[in-house]
């Protein structure tokens, strides 16, 4: 028996196709608990699919996905729901429910998964929003928020049930550099103070450098490089080295 701690996430030879389009080919990697893992790569190389596989929103065609040591590829919907309660997901578009207020979006998972009284849930949701600088937006509708505010509200909802794993899809997409940097600060805070494991998909290299403990680079559905920032800078793949030189955000 190995004494190594169980990684929070482990991909073991995972492949995924949509029709004839192969998105992931035999991908394997692991993410240690409490660390931030950043997935890089061109658009359409399977980064967002990887996040959805971790959350069980998509099912791998072959291979296994382990979350906190449990293979989730063959779980039924009830077992998957139990696993998902430990995972937060910040979508690229924030995916806030547009028929309810920002506060109710944050309160939603608390109402579903706790038996706390309504007043306590509202207080908790307000407190989470305040921590993310959205204290005054409890009653605002998602459509009335700016892009950065929507991202923060999405992060607030994802953090409401205090997940041990946070999946983040393109946190800086469509945001100005200042707002993007604020989102990075929040993610670093989640990792440092909440001790959560982060898996982040981004094209923003400066942002990735700030947050990541380890990085991986996907190209044509294959993991071509994995390691620390320094290791990726010295990668044998030209594409990876070029990407790491990028100063561009967003």
């Amino acid at each position: 028996m190995s004494d190594e701690p169980t990684p929070a996430i482990r991909f073991d030879g995972v492949s995924k196709s949509f029709g004839s389009r192969v998105v992931l080919k035999d991908v394997s990697f692991s993410v240690a608990t409490g660390t931030a893992f950043v997935l890089l790569g061109r658009s359409g190389t399977g980064k967002s699919v990887t996040l959805k596989l971790i959350c069980g929103l998509l099912k791998a065609d072959s291979g296994s996905v382990f979350v906190n040591g449990e293979d989730i590829t063959n779980l039924d919907s009830d077992q998957l729901a139990t696993t998902r309660k430990r995972i937060g997901f910040l979508f690229q578009s924030a995916a806030l429910f547009d028929s309810i207020s920002v506060g109710e979006n944050v309160a939603f998972p608390l109402r579903r998964h706790t038996s706390k009284p309504d007043a306590e849930i509202r207080e908790e949701a307000k407190s989470i929003l305040e921590k993310l600088g959205l204290g005054k937006e409890y009653d605002s509708m998602p459509g009335d928020l700016s892009g950065g505010m929507r991202k923060r509200a999405g992060l607030a909802r994802a953090l409401a049930v205090e997940p041990s794993i946070l999946l983040v899809d393109e946190p800086s997409a469509g945001l100005d550099p200042i707002t993007s940097s604020e989102i990075d600060d929040l993610l670093i805070d989640v990792k440092t103070n909440r001790k959560a494991t982060l898996v982040i998909v981004t094209h923003n290299i400066p942002s990735a450098r700030r947050i990541a403990d380890r990085m991986a680079f996907l190209d044509n559905g294959q993991l071509v490089a994995e390691g620390t920032v320094e290791e990726l800078e010295k990668s044998e793949h030209q594409l990876v080295r070029d990407c790491m030189k990028s100063k561009q955000g967003g």
Binding site: A81, T82, R84, F89, A95, D98, P109
Partner: protein
């Protein structure tokens, strides 16, 4: 050939979806709060449209019935004829078509919008069964709301008929309603009204299927909304023919 294959595949998908709706309707957890909310959205918010349409349909039917029955000197039969026409066929069918227009488009667009903006994925990521929460609740609400809206349409229709008739003949409210409903029996009233639960199931399931599986951004949402109305209306009309035959088979006396 390719189109035929695609059509068979589509109907297969819809049938499996409908089966999943039925199975999930009877297994816990039951989303009672969301079902009540949807009954309010689908039923209560459709009520003004149904009442207004019922009044219009009833008054027009009454005018046509009068012009026909006058030829045979049978004007006193107008309330009865109108009530029979409304309760047995016009009420359920018009209600079904109105609801498929208003609610079908709404469900198709709402679920389609949620699908393309990843809100359905967000629900799943929050450990919520999106099928139960979004689809089953809406279909159940349609099934519950349809008979209630049909009853409303029938009464509004008879009331519309009364308004049209009283302007011509000056008949009293009590006489008109007594004559209208005195000839109707249980077998006249219940089967066509219960039939509308099937209409509700068709509208809810078809539009939810199209919305829940929408693809292709805003264009896909628009397509889902349009197809929801068109297809649920067609299915409803075709199904109505079969159900009328089925009702005649179960209640042989209801045809006379």
């Amino acid at each position: 050939m390719e189109n035929a294959e695609r059509a068979i595949e589509w109907f297969g998908g819809l049938s499996l979806f409908a089966g999943q709706v039925i199975r999930n309707s009877f297994s816990p957890p039951f989303e009672f709060t969301e079902i009540l909310k949807q009954i309010f959205e689908i039923g209560w918010r459709s009520a003004p449209l149904i009442i207004l349409s019922g009044l219009a349909v009833g008054s027009v039917l009454s005018m046509h019935t009068r012009s026909t029955l006058e030829r045979f000197g049978a004007e006193s039969m107008i309330p009865t004829a109108l009530a029979f026409a409304l309760v047995k066929e016009t009420g359920p069918l018009v209600t079904g078509l109105l609801v498929s227009g208003r609610v079908g488009a709404g469900i198709g667009a709402e679920l389609g919008g949620m699908r393309v903006t990843e809100q359905i994925d967000a629900l799943e990521s929050l450990a919520v069964n999106s099928f139960k929460y979004l689809v089953v609740t809406r279909v159940v609400a349609c099934v519950v709301a349809m008979p209630l809206l049909t009853v409303l349409m029938n009464f509004a229709g008879v009331l519309g008929g009364f308004f049209a008739e009283t302007l011509v003949s000056g008949s009293s409210f009590t006489f008109y309603f007594n004559t209208a409903f005195s000839s109707l029996s249980f077998s006249d009233y219940i089967p066509p009204t219960i039939k509308t639960t099937v209409f509700g199931f068709i509208i809810g399931t078809t539009s939810a299927f199209l919305g829940y599986n929408a693809t292709g951004g805003a264009e896909g949402v628009g397509r889902a909304a349009t197809q929801s109305v068109v297809l649920s209306s067609i299915f409803l009309i075709v199904c109505n023919v079969l159900l009328v035959k089925f009702i005649f088979f179960l209640y042989p006396g209801s045809g006379s």
